[in-house]
Symmetry: C3
Subunit: 318 residues, 3 copies
């Protein structure tokens, strides 16, 4: 494996989940690995809590030194365009930045959200793809414009841990949010769960259709109540519109889509999941989040599980 | 001990001081502890120099990995209210943030200053108390709305090191400052020194009275010169008004309260102390700070001494 | 050696280069040193990519713990004036800040750019010199107002590695830039290369003359084409005017000074060097940077080589 940028870099999701869980148990029993001299640089174009802290903790657990670099506050603006005359606001080209960092570190993590203003650039992964192109060491996607595979890997680990039937009914439900959010988490969740043996259902209001190529084999159900019927897992997430006409916009804040205990009662005692941060009483009510069926903290903890599995594979740590 | 949030978490201040000094000597002789696999997250809502660096150095000395997280620049705004519909500026509730970080780290340090605009919220320790409530690992107060026990612990270690009589006369003196500052350092200094065998005197202009429950057995003396008479230690600090009418306001900048060599001459060759940062020629003149009786650097160095004692106890490092 | 602030702290540049290369090879073969209990604090008043990351990586390679402190975002404004009544925007005096940090760490790195508004203050190294004065541990210049010796040390290591003749012709060429930049890199490059056995040429438009005391034995040639004739190394850098009349100003953006393949063709197959970050198609065209004669990435990598040599000497790491 050369990079961890999307599901396409994962040959065997089920095998990865198993080895991630084994690695987690090994570290719980034996403690962190001793330092192996390897190091990783974690680059943030956007804010982060879980991704930042879980990547640092995972590195620590594996004996890898992690270095944080916040480009916006600690560095300067990078240029991603080819052939640009750089007499404007950008001070360094990705070619040099990636080249230098590749020569310093054994891997580079990048967090760079969607612009939500230019669909083509977002879905071409303008920033991430330039890092991949110009880095000579493995690149780790710490949430890009259109995907967040470290999150989805953690999500699958969580579902496998909590599932009570071989083929659970897994429902990805849109929920309202006051601000326009990327589709990255929803996209990756669909990418990964399509590779698992799940009865996968996607539910959202009209206007929130996602990329059909990503939706894959998921059943699209516009009636949220019907979607929840018999569900084993409710995975909730807001995203802004994907269609060309209203790309990146909030086209509905319909409060009837908020997850409530009443809606959870429609399910097969489903576990409630969300990638966090979650806006309480907007995405889901306190009654849902404070109920024992919510597994959002365990899910967030598996961000360490997935991060250390990825780091181990990419950096060949033993 | 489950947390280190205030003097109430300290059963035996004198015993703590002794063991902190022993630990400091041990580390000076033997060097830092080897890594023990434990880790602590240090959360900053406000700027910091000594607290940040001494906590990192203390962690390093104890073989504990420390991770910094600056919420304002690296994360997003947290919600502390119960039952709030989070459709405004806050992106994550303390319940989730504390839950997740508790699952990642062995302890969590928090720095969250007083608002100085809402006395009730400040003195109910709105932020710190919510972290304590929702964290499942020890919480360390790195200066909260109303107290700064790591500072006061260091202050007591310093006084014990420099005192020449069994029961020194210790004077806490207000001094002027152009901006409104919290009462946290003064409060904690009173809390701790009330637990020691000191002849404790508090002096400040009218209008700067502190919480009587915190003042405790200290003698309040409005005449600064009288207060300084025979003092063994002058501990200076500015704070804004505590009374309901002018809470959090600057009600005086009286320059006659600035500490000068002339005032120090009234004392029993007192040592000069301040928590730093200190505004020279406002709080105290150059002549005071550059005199050999100033022990502010030694005092600041004991921030490592107190921090590593607290970390050792909370994380049970051996 | 007590500090690493300028070429004046370096007794034997050639010997330093040799031992830096040996240390680099040793670490490549044997891996990072084991932790030695030493620690360094890296203070940033200005943004940084290579300096920050190379100092962290170099510290890691030597078993030294590094702690980052961004004063502007994580701390507060320091006062550098003597005797100032600090009732304005500065919260802490350098005397206390340097004293405290000296008591916490084994060395302190400082990055503080030129103001470009006060030539006298810049060339008196107002900030760096105050740190040197008030720190009781070694101070490392991570780019000050007028010099950047870690960069120049790396530059010399690079030239020694790539030179094909005993006494190469080394050309420092000004190039245009939209913003006013300090003279620090150019100054240090001249300082260091004057100490080497080079045929040293300095070329720039009229109005960009540098301090004659720094130019030293370099030949000044106003015709860039003539300067490039027979060159073995082209070192490019922009700087703003040094003369009193237009200090710190952009007095020309003449695009004919941009480095192009045509200009490189005038040289003796010269290697192209720049300290980075570089504005493509302003300082040098893509054709120059993407050509095999560009060694800017190798040069940037030697920032680790120079940083770890300096840290080893200053902290006496074995």
């Amino acid at each position: 494996m050369t990079n961890f940028c999307s599901i396409d870099d994962v040959d065997d999701p089920v095998g990865w989940i198993q080895s991630a869980v084994e690695l987690k148990k090994k570290i719980e029993q034996d403690g962190p690995f001793t330092k192996n001299g390897k190091s990783v640089c974690l680059l943030f174009f956007n804010p982060s809590l879980r991704t930042r802290l879980s990547m640092q903790k995972a590195s620590f657990n594996l004996g890898i030194e992690s270095f944080i670099f916040n480009l916006n506050t600690e560095g300067w603006q990078l240029e991603f365009g080819d052939g640009v005359v750089m007499n404007g606001n950008t001070s360094e080209h990705i070619i040099e930045a990636a080249g230098v960092m590749s020569s310093y570190f054994d891997a580079i993590g990048i967090r760079a959200f969607a612009s939500l203003s230019n669909k083509q650039e977002d879905y071409q992964e303008k920033i991430l793809s330039q890092f991949v192109k110009h880095c000579s060491v493995p690149v780790i996607n710490m949430e890009s414009a259109t995907s967040h595979p470290l999150q989805s890997f953690a999500d699958m680990i969580t579902i496998e841990e909590y599932k009570k039937v071989d083929k659970p009914r897994v429902v990805l439900s849109w929920a309202p949010h006051p601000k326009a959010l990327p589709q990255a988490v929803a996209n990756s969740f669909l990418n990964w769960s399509n590779r698992m043996d799940y009865d996968l259902v996607l539910t959202h209001p009209k206007g929130y259709e996602l990329d059909p190529g990503i939706v894959g084999n998921a059943t699209v159900e516009y009636d949220q109540n019907k979607a929840f019927d018999g569900a084993d897992f409710i995975y909730t997430k807001n995203w802004s519109a994907f269609n060309d006409e209203s790309y990146g916009q909030v086209v509905s804040q319909d409060p009837t889509w908020t997850i409530t205990p009443e809606k959870m009662a429609l399910t097969n005692a489903a576990k409630f999941m969300h990638c966090l941060p979650i806006r309480r009483n907007v995405i889901a009510t306190d009654g849902v989040l404070d109920h024992e069926s919510s597994i959002v903290i365990a899910q967030a903890n598996h961000r360490i599980t997935s991060a250390q599995a990825v780091l181990q594979k990419l950096l060949n740590v033993k």
